[in-house]
């Protein structure tokens, strides 16, 4: 039976959200809660001498927490132990927290924060990642023997070099970071509720901070107003702060960032510089690739090693090539730490390889579409890590779909360095394309190590409850789980409820990241549901009465399953060889832009995309993920500027932190391709991040087509386009 999968159920959280009844952290009623905040560094690097307390403030009205008040380790638990919860002797970025304060109301809190002045002796700050030397992590991928190829290229082969850069990007989840923490209760349990993607990450961070067993920290997700990766690791910081204050104040403490603070101090996308050397045969066949990836990790390690890993694993693009060398480094600077953002390193390297492909096509006088199709990975091909693609490869299908929708395969591109075409309207048009893939789920053995668990359990009324730590953050987890469970159980969607992610009540299904929730967690859910359905049997009667009868007869109504990797997957983390991901989503974009010749503003008028998702469990939600992700990519491509001066983020308010509005949204033309993945639920693969990867290169290619200047850096702002045009005028 498959009635819910493939249909559109409608999200259960819809009515509460449209009527303002959904309760986000700032809406939660908590009697007696105080308000928490942080004293932060105002400089990028320095030695903390002391923190002055201005006289005249009555300190009995507030509580103040310093590094010495952390009962466990003063370490922000993540991949590395380099980031303190509260900086003690040295600050390494603007906004780094030094002291925490809680007060009965916000005005008192503000007064207390203003009365605490850190005296910090400045140290030299590293603010240019391209010259930074402290390496946080390195990755090497080797296939074949590219060195030999570059040294003695076959006759007719040509070498192409290109350097491509992308700037940072702000997630701008619309609901700011926030949580409420309670002091430990009688049995020593610390409770936190808040806006987050990964309750079990927060639990782990609290356990480290308090020196307690994970079970003594209970974390409950509230309705969450967007994340996009920005609420992957950072909520642990907010939670530790609030919980430390709650402990000191002996009462609940709420921290909800205002937008200004959120923009200044929270992690953003890693800036990148990617250098390509590509050896290409005259017919366009890629003979050898050498890719150098450099990321700005910011002041602390956070998730940078994993971001770098994903960046490198996508650096050679969805292309076949026998000889590949990929070298990646993420370096430390005194910028705000970089962190998770939809795409997680892949958008940066996807941008570079796609623009490199355009450059090659033009130089060889090949069509960019034909060049991509010629080199596209197909069934049976091996990726840069030697992973042989055995099934679910929608590469040619997505390329052919966008060609059919747009005629891009027949489009004649404007050659770079051509004069800007004159235009009566003062606007010029251009078309650009991109072709990309995205590994779904954790990299390599990640899922194997994580062992995500999901439970399905019968409630006394006969309904089935899905219990998992996976969170609804707007992407539709609740709806998708409901559809999967209903079809796997053979019941109505109304017979399924999805439990609130509460670490005390649901198993750890792993973080809600990496496009893994539907594909990985969903597959565990489906198998648990099938076992439960087999248990209670398919006898006559509706599901609820059969379930009640089963329970009444003393049957066990709980099935918990653990993720097991599909057979045959092999990954060697030491050599970066093997099956980097269980499978890949595939996509192609065609962007159509209009550029205003007076202002050089770029208007993306249409984005055509074809996306292989394996199986659209909920087609409308899938389309929402595709268009939403693509819009973020379009914004990054041309209008979303994140810059810093002396290490301080300049776009520190919504008036200057620009993202696309209703006026910037293009017309979307979405084709969903379904090449089922055998181990995904009903064939589904991940889709959350893929749409973020291809928008920027397609838009910049279209700008290049419109203006005839080579666009090599994201975002392509009017200022940068003007500089490119002026440069061309000077040199021509």
């Amino acid at each position: 039976m498959s009635a819910c999968v493939g249909s559109d159920l409608g999200r259960p959280d819809g009515p509460a959200k449209v009527s303002g009844r959904a309760v986000y952290v700032a809406d939660l009623a908590v009697a007696g809660a105080w308000h928490g905040g942080a004293v932060r560094s105002t400089i990028a690097h320095g030695r903390v001498l002391r923190i002055e307390r201005k006289p005249g403030f009555d300190w009995r009205r507030v509580v103040v927490v310093g590094p010495g008040d952390v009962p466990g380790d003063n370490v922000q638990e993540l991949l590395s132990d380099d980031q303190p919860i509260l900086a003690e002797r040295v600050v390494r970025h603007v906004g780094e927290p030094l002291l925490l304060v809680a007060a009965p109301d916000l005005p008192t809190l503000e007064a207390a924060l203003a009365a605490l002045r850190p005296i910090v002796e400045p140290l030299p700050a590293e603010l240019d990642f391209e010259s930074a030397t402290r390496v946080l992590h390195e990755v090497s991928i080797d296939k074949g023997d590219p060195g030999a190829r570059f040294d003695s290229p076959p006759p007719g082969a040509r070498l192409f070099e290109g350097t491509w850069r992308t700037d940072s990007q702000e997630q701008l989840y619309v609901e700011p970071q926030g949580c409420v923490a309670w002091p430990a209760d009688a049995d020593g349990t610390v409770v936190v509720r808040g806006s987050m993607q990964c309750p079990h990450y927060v639990r782990k961070a609290l356990a480290r901070c308090f020196g307690i067993a994970p079970e003594r920290a209970r974390v409950v997700q509230l309705t969450t107003g967007g994340g996009f990766g920005g609420k992957e690791e950072y909520p642990s910081v907010v939670a530790c702060h609030a919980a430390l204050l709650a402990r000191a104040a002996g009462r609940p403490v709420r921290i909800v960032y205002d937008r200004h603070e959120d923009l200044l101090v929270t992690p953003k996308r890693h800036p990148s510089r990617v250098h390509h050397r590509t050896l290409v045969a005259a017919d366009g066949t890629l003979l050898a690739m050498d890719v150098d990836v450099l990321l700005d990790g910011g002041a602390y390690t956070t998730l940078s090693p994993v971001v770098l890993s994903r960046a490198c694993l996508h650096a050679s693009g969805p292309y076949r090539c026998e000889h590949v060398a990929i070298r990646g480094r993420v370096v430390a600077t005194n910028h705000v730490p970089s962190g998770a953002f939809r795409g997680f390193g892949a958008p940066q390297t996807c941008f570079a390889i796609e623009r490199q492909m355009d450059r090659i096509a033009r130089a060889l006088d090949l069509h960019p579409f034909a060049l991509r199709r010629h080199n596209a990975l197909r069934l049976g091909d091996a990726t840069a890590t030697g992973q042989v693609l055995h099934d679910s490869v929608g590469s040619l299908a997505v390329l052919d779909a966008v060609a059919a929708r747009t005629g891009i395969d027949r489009h004649r591109w404007c050659a770079p360095a051509m004069a800007v075409p004159s235009s009566n309207s003062g606007r010029v048009r251009g078309l650009g394309m991109s072709f990309f893939f995205h590994g779904a789920g954790f990299t390599g053995s990640g899922e194997e190590l994580l062992k995500g668990r999901v439970a399905i359990r019968l409630l006394p009324d006969g309904r089935a409850e899905v219990a998992a730590g996976s969170t609804e953050i707007g992407q539709g987890t609740t709806t998708v789980f409901t559809a999967i469970a209903a079809d796997a159980l053979g019941c109505d969607p109304g017979d399924v409820v999805v439990a609130v992610p509460d670490t005390a009540a649901v198993p750890d299904s792993g973080p809600t990241v990496a496009s893994r929730t539907c594909m990985v967690v969903g597959s565990v859910l489906a198998s648990a549901c099938r076992e439960l359905a087999a248990r209670i049997g398919g006898a006559a009667g509706d599901f609820r009465s059969r379930a009640r009868a089963w329970l009444a007869a003393g049957g066990d109504g709980i099935v918990e399953h653990v993720y097991g990797s599909p057979p045959g997957l092999v990954w060697d983390q030491a050599t970066y060889r093997g099956d980097a991901y269980p499978c890949y989503g595939w996509a192609a974009d065609v962007a159509e832009v209009e550029v205003d010749l007076d202002t050089l503003e770029v208007d993306v008028v249409r984005l055509t995309t074809a996306v292989d998702v394996g199986k659209a469990i909920q087609p409308r939600l899938v389309e929402g993920q595709i268009t939403g992700g693509a819009l973020q990519a379009i914004g990054w491509a041309q209008c979303e500027v994140v810059s810093s001066r002396d290490g301080r983020v300049q776009q520190d308010r919504l008036a200057t932190c620009i993202v696309p509005t209703t006026k910037d949204a293009p017309r979307f033309d979405v084709t969903i391709v379904e090449q089922p993945y055998a181990h995904g639920p009903f064939g589904a693969k991940g889709v959350g991040e893929l749409p973020m990867d291809g928008g920027a290169p397609a838009v910049l290619a279209a700008i290049e087509d419109a203006l005839g200047v080579p666009a090599d850096r994201v975002p392509a702002t009017p200022e940068r386009l003007l500089a490119l045009l002026e440069q061309r005028e000077r040199t021509s």
């Binding site: 559109d8 409608g10 999200r11 959280d13 819809g14 509460a16 959200k17 449209v18 009527s19 303002g20 959904a22 309760v23 986000y24 009623a29 908590v30 009697a31 007696g32 809660a33 009965p104 109301d105 916000l106 989840y173 619309v174 609901e175 409770v191 509720r193 409950v220 997700q221 309705t223 969450t224 107003g225 609940p252 937008r259 409630l459 009324d461 409850e465 996976s470 609804e472 953050i473 707007g474 987890t477 609740t478 789980f481 999805v498 439990a499 609130v500 005390a504 009540a505 709980i558 939600l621 929402g624 992700g629 693509a630 308010r653 919504l654 993202v659 509005t661 209703t662 006026k663 017309r667």
Partner: protein, 218 residues
């Protein structure tokens, strides 16, 4: 529970002392306990309300003056400072938390309410300036159990993801339909340009509002 009816104590929650009951939190949080009965609210990421009063406390302790605001057809009394915004008065003074605070600087539209029918960023209006005017918030749109046609259309078109921008968009859309009846696509884009949705639901929102306009005209 959140209420929008008159409450006995209109002193801003920030000024009340104590009163926190651990039980009231657990009552909400334990809905998802293993094997326990799942109430209607126990959807993932969904609303769990406690019966404790809110305590957001943007309204400071000093220089409070009680004013009367006419909100959703009911006269409500709330103590505010001169500098208190309408947004803070609604959220913290009157527990009308459907109106969202995102930028607090007039740049996102999440706090949109209707003031005498005009869409207004409530973070940019002082509560004192709203005295004597008719204020409609998201909570005032639905009648009894039925959603307003615009809200209904948002649900049907899946014109939301995380939902945090949604109340503001609904209010702007209601105002737009009030002004234009059946707005052209360009008019609609223009009228909604002050609201930001980072989940990128704009296309669905256009479709929903146009559908609602069509229904109203039928």
């Amino acid at each position: 529970m959140q209420t929008d009816g008159p409450a006995p104590d209109r002193t801003p929650a920030s000024r009340r002392s104590g009163g926190f009951s651990r039980r009231s939190f657990l009552k909400g949080a334990s809905i998802a306990a293993v094997g326990g009965p799942a109430g209607a609210a126990a959807t993932a990421g969904g609303a769990i309300l406690t019966d404790a009063p809110r305590d957001t406390g943007t309204i400071p302790a000093g220089q409070l003056r009680e004013i009367a605001l006419r909100v959703n057809g009911v006269e409500r009394r709330v103590a505010v400072e001169t500098r208190t915004t309408l947004l803070d008065a609604l959220r913290d003074g009157l527990d009308l938390t459907g109106t969202k605070k995102v930028c607090d600087r007039g740049a996102c539209g999440a706090c949109t309410v209707l003031v005498d029918g005009q869409p207004t960023n409530s973070c940019l209006m002082l509560a004192h300036d709203a005295v004597g005017r008719e204020i409609t918030t998201i909570e005032g749109l639905a009648s009894d159990a039925a959603l307003h046609p615009v809200q209904q259309a948002f649900v049907e078109h899946d014109a939301l993801q995380c939902g945090f921008c949604t109340p503001g968009f609904v209010m702007s859309a209601v105002a737009c339909l009030g002004k234009h009846g059946k707005p052209s696509p360009a008019t609609l884009r223009h009228e909604l340009a002050g609201n930001i949705c980072r989940c990128g639901t704009y296309g669905r929102i256009f479709a929903a509002v146009q559908d609602a306009a069509g229904r109203a005209g039928r």
